[in-house]
Symmetry: C2
Amino acid sequence: MSKKRATLIDVAKLSGLSTGTVSRVLNGHPSVSDEARKKVEDAIKKLNYVPLSTARSLAKGVSNVIMLSMIEENPILPSTWRYELPVIQGIYDCLRDTPYNLQVGIGFVEEAQKSKFFENLLKDKYIDGLLILGSWPIDHRSLIYLEERNIPYVLIGCRSSVPTRAEVNFDNHGAVVEVIEYLVQLGHTKFALIGGLKEQLHMVDRAKGFRDALLARDLKVYPNLIKFGDYQIDSGYRLMLELLEEDPRPTAIICGNDLMAAGAIKAIHDKGYKIPSDFSVVGFDDSEISKVVDPPLTTIKAPTFEMGNLAVEKLCSMIQQKDMELEEIAILPCELIIRSSTGECNQKN
Amino acid sequence: MSKKRATLIDVAKLSGLSTGTVSRVLNGHPSVSDEARKKVEDAIKKLNYVPLSTARSLAKGVSNVIMLSMIEENPILPSTWRYELPVIQGIYDCLRDTPYNLQVGIGFVEEAQKSKFFENLLKDKYIDGLLILGSWPIDHRSLIYLEERNIPYVLIGCRSSVPTRAEVNFDNHGAVVEVIEYLVQLGHTKFALIGGLKEQLHMVDRAKGFRDALLARDLKVYPNLIKFGDYQIDSGYRLMLELLEEDPRPTAIICGNDLMAAGAIKAIHDKGYKIPSDFSVVGFDDSEISKVVDPPLTTIKAPTFEMGNLAVEKLCSMIQQKDMELEEIAILPCELIIRSSTGECNQKN
DNA sequence: CGATTACATGTTATCGGTTACACAATATAA
DNA sequence: TTATATTGTGTAACCGATAACATGTAATCG
């Protein structure tokens, strides 16, 4: 029943021209007469002809496919992929202007930390380049596989134990430094960190930024005020309760994401304190949550869309000039969004 | 510099066998001696050989690609793609067990409502099947293009003006009926709807469910208590303020998503009322927001992951048996998640 | 033991395009 | 005018696999 699809040969026959000419029309080659072009286009329309991309790929020696590999946490947490989505939109936004198709592969964190990750992921796939989107360390032996096969790739939001060709990330470290700077201006001196998953790369960098910023200001880093949870609201709540019992008691709390900040705020309110008069709280992500909590959350917004854009740009130029040597690492700045959960420090020293 | 990739012929030469035998090994054909198989496998390993999928596709006459086309709202709202993400996870979860690769294409709502949508989206693409994920009507002329080309497709969360081959959706209508049932048990009789975008399909169905449920209970439908916004917190806030001025004043408010519910709650609190003693509020999505607001939100959870799974299953069976006639529409039930934003109606009639 | 089968393997046409090359017709230069 | 580019088109080799078919060898049978 399903009538066979028309081939280029059918078009050639119907138009009375050769396959070469038809192909030239298809590829916008200049040396084709208007007359011939017209005939071919008519035949194409008449036959409903669409070129077969696999045949074209084979002949041209390119796949025109870029693969996006996403690293998923397992079990899936509600917070999974909050930050990844706008990155994808940025990727596709940039890809629209290229001949590349986007193929998606999803792997789990545990796999990504083993050596055969990309070998397995790319089985039976023919791609021109690879975007690697995740928040966890990538096994460098997996990357060797890509190097051997000369597959250009760009890491987004993650890195490996060894330096890689190209990375795009947002500035976790700088973002925390900036927010502490801001809070110091408001008179705060005792800072706490309610982190997310401790090993996750973004968190590692932010914890480092936290320490560095305090040290740079000659402020004390209290180890008992640095705690890690799991990005869920409950752990934010629980850790904040713990912090309220610590000595010294912090006046400014920086959280791993908006959800944990929401938990922290809840804990503070439950204990009868006020925000921001008693405590300043900062989130991360600028998610919708930041507008929902009371008071609205001061938070940090990562340039996710731009990251996606930039990653594609880089990858495309790597594909073009295969022998690109330079290791380029782009770290995009975040934006501090000030709302009402932060304010002057009212606690006298 | 980039050493050429090995081909099947290289493998054949190195192993001292013919291309036919190598191909048989690659495809797990039974009639290959263990000895030959071993030789081939060694050669493959030695050469780092990976078959070229485009060549394979061409020879086999299949693409092994399934395309997921997502419909994006423009301009991009913060709420865009909240519901789509777990669907994708469900899709991929199912796709892991198949030979299909997932390719993604993103279009905008306005495009999807024009006739050449899929023609443009599929330009230069060779796919075995198509998943269409969106919340807006699809132009049926676009679908004709798919029928003509005999491309199996499944609609997820959307539909066209004419019936289609296969659809997967969640039960918007039933979910609202269920929640009204529940609220009626609690003594409520005056219901309001704070809807999202009025033309969006999910919203259309829920608005219908709202009316149907009330009529079925012989309750009055007050047109002035049915309002539509844009899924953002501000519109939830504003519409709730309006509702507080209406006559009659509702006691139970059903919102288009959790974010609008959060806005509504804010408005209620700002006017000095209490939840759930004065008003019951229901959200939709079971997003993280529902746990963040105070009080925690009673809300409706759609079976998104399952939808993705089911859609792939359907599509695969359509691809297998090309001539599948049946128009199957699967409507999966939602789950009512009761938290503290709903309670007994305290207003005497 | 010769005939029949079953199995392992080699050979080659084929999938649907692209493109280097050849060649003719026309345009430009000398 | 003849020589030289320029332009448009056809021909066929080629991209890297698959699979139908042919062939040769060993196992099974009456």
